[in-house]
Amino acid sequence: MSEEEKKEENVRVGIFVCHCGSNIGGLIDCHKLAEESKELPFVAHAEDNLYTCSETGLAAIKKAIEEHNLNRVVVASCTPRTHEPLFRECISEAGLNPYLFNFVNIRDQCTWVHMKHAQEAYDKAKDLIKMGAAKAVKLEPLEMIMVNITPAAMVIGGGVAGMSAALSLSRQGFKTYLVEKEDKLGGRLNSLYKLFPYDIDASEFIGNIISNVQNAKNLEILTSSQVINIEGFVGNFEVEVEHNGTINTFEIGAIIVAVGSSILDPTGLFGYDGNKRITQFELESKLKNNKINQKDIIMIQCVGSRIEERPYCSSVCCMTALKNALNIKDQNPEAHITILFRDLYTPGTEYEEYYRKAREQGVLFVKYDPEKMPVIEETQVKVFNEYINTEMTIPYDLLVLSTPLVANDDNKELAQMLKVPLEANKFFLEAHVKLRPNDFATDGVYIGGSAKWPVDITESISQGYAAASRASTILSHDTIEVEGATSCLPEYNKSLCTGCEVCVKVCPFNAIIKNEDDEIEIIEALCKGCGVCAATCTNQALVIRHFTDDQIMSEIFAYGGE
């Protein structure tokens, strides 16, 4: 569209500069920015707001659209990552196509990174707004893409989190498949003795849940089964599951990852020998099967965690140690149990009470300094007691190591199949650590339990339910809308395409295929608009909607001149 055409169309841009409290306004003069923006081409209105995203700010946008006949809106503020959907919805409520909105990031990429350079930050913000306004002029209306939803869910992992998720979904009336690698459901709970902080038998507890799952309507259990391939996108996944050499394909609307975690291999740590020096997990099996007769027992916390290689706290080990200590005391009140620890992790109401109970029952706690690690000898441990700055020797005939939960080795493969990320410790990475704890950034895929981070049974269950809820928000609809700013091969560019398929190979979302007619086709529901294809296309045949060459060049020209 030429300048002339724009004038004809009567493009009227409104600019809203957000203070974001003091995040932006604390460093640069937002009012002045807004005033100066009024001079930019096609700008019909500009103002500044303390929080443009507040109901007050949104009302101001709508009011300005009406009063100034705006047909393009620019918000200069925090980040589109969290706020673009809100503003799009806002202008759409005011009657504009949501894609006639442009976000200018003057917080995350400006005032935050240039915190110490107010003037430069101001100049940069001014440039960014100028560029954003120029792009806004070129914006075209786009339509969201409607996608049909298959009302069926698949839960991967038949532990306590996965079963909770599957039960809830099936009770809500959704066809649910529960896939478990092992030949029976229950996961780690099958091997535990009792469950903290209650005197509840693990097998009894998990047995009840398993029988609920087995009796549930709409719920199909696939044990000894493994997911081997996942295609498709939200509402329309095709999942291949292998069972005893046969492969079945399932049509699935939403997927829940509940694959749990593993226990660190303790080989080489603190003289581990699987016999006299064992893990808490091994201790549980012993407790389950017979009495612990040893009199002097030492437990060591943070074995292989909170160290450089594995910096995190596994959050369940302190409670596990307390539980096993109390269970041993139960069997044998004369046993001497000493727990060597760093920080006792017993948050909340019942756990803190449990810690107190352990002290009451005579469990001893000796704090050690990670700089002076306990030294394991054949029949005794030498430990430097930080509380009294004294080296102590404690005899043992059973040494129990509290090893952390670690990410499953095969998380990576599943993550690749699902196109979801892992974090540094190879646990699954959720969409937003604070407000989207059970979502992935990828639509239609959810997570619960210790596949995401070590959690106790209570949290595993509530997260299982949470993932079910999130999946249900998709499955409850026949269709949903997905992002319209996708890649496309416009009719007028088709002649430029040589069919080299480079785009097919580079697309990280498998959204580009060569169809039956031997033509490049973009599956828009899968496309995230990342732009890799267009950047790679040697003939510049592919176009990214909302990020067209014309739109981007207009920004560059606005900054540096033609």
Binding site: L344, G362, V366, K382, I388, T390
Partner: protein, 165 residues
């Protein structure tokens, strides 16, 4: 090198069960007026930790930290978030020190007096006449034999005659 002594630990616990609740938060030491002016020489928290582990050698023989520096002001008892009755626990430790003859001499003088007179300070002639001048009545204190019978029963007499350092 210290070794946990469960026997001694149990002895303290039997005397005062609140010991087990301590989680070594340092409230007692931070609030202790003596700890503040003794550069760590006196530290109620450390005594408690040693008691938890039954480190009798440290507590009674080495007296590290020195329990006799406790002024019995009871501030720690009042502040302790786990309601550990520290002063009571120190009492047992000091009783043990006494049995081992490791205590400041002034204490045995008081004990001696009680054993001998039934009261800690016998009435001197001067005081008796001062009392008369002030119009105060004469006091009939406990029969000494009765007190001595009692103190024999509690084996206090043996403790006292043993003497301190």
């Amino acid at each position: 090198m210290s070794v946990i002594n469960f026997e001694f630990r149990n002895e303290v616990l039997k005397h005062n069960a609140s010991l087990s609740y301590c989680y070594q938060c340092s409230t007692c030491s931070g609030g202790c007026p003596v700890a503040l002016i003794t550069e760590g020489k006196y530290n109620p928290r450390k005594i408690i930790e040693e008691a938890i582990l039954g480190l009798q050698e440290k507590l009674v023989n080495e007296q590290d930290p020195n329990p006799w520096l406790c002024s019995t002001c009871q501030k720690c008892v009042e502040l302790c978030p786990q309601k550990v009755e520290l002063t009571e626990i120190f009492t047992l430790i000091k009783n043990q020190c006494f049995e081992k003859g490791k205590f400041p001499e002034a204490f045995s003088a008081q004990g001696q007096a009680v054993l001998e007179f039934g009261i800690a300070i016998p009435y001197s002639k001067a005081i008796i006449s001062r009392r008369e001048k002030l119009g105060l009545p004469s006091i009939n204190t406990a029969p000494v034999e009765e007190i001595q019978t009692l103190l024999k029963e509690t084996k206090f007499d043996k403790n006292i005659t043993r003497g301190g350092d």
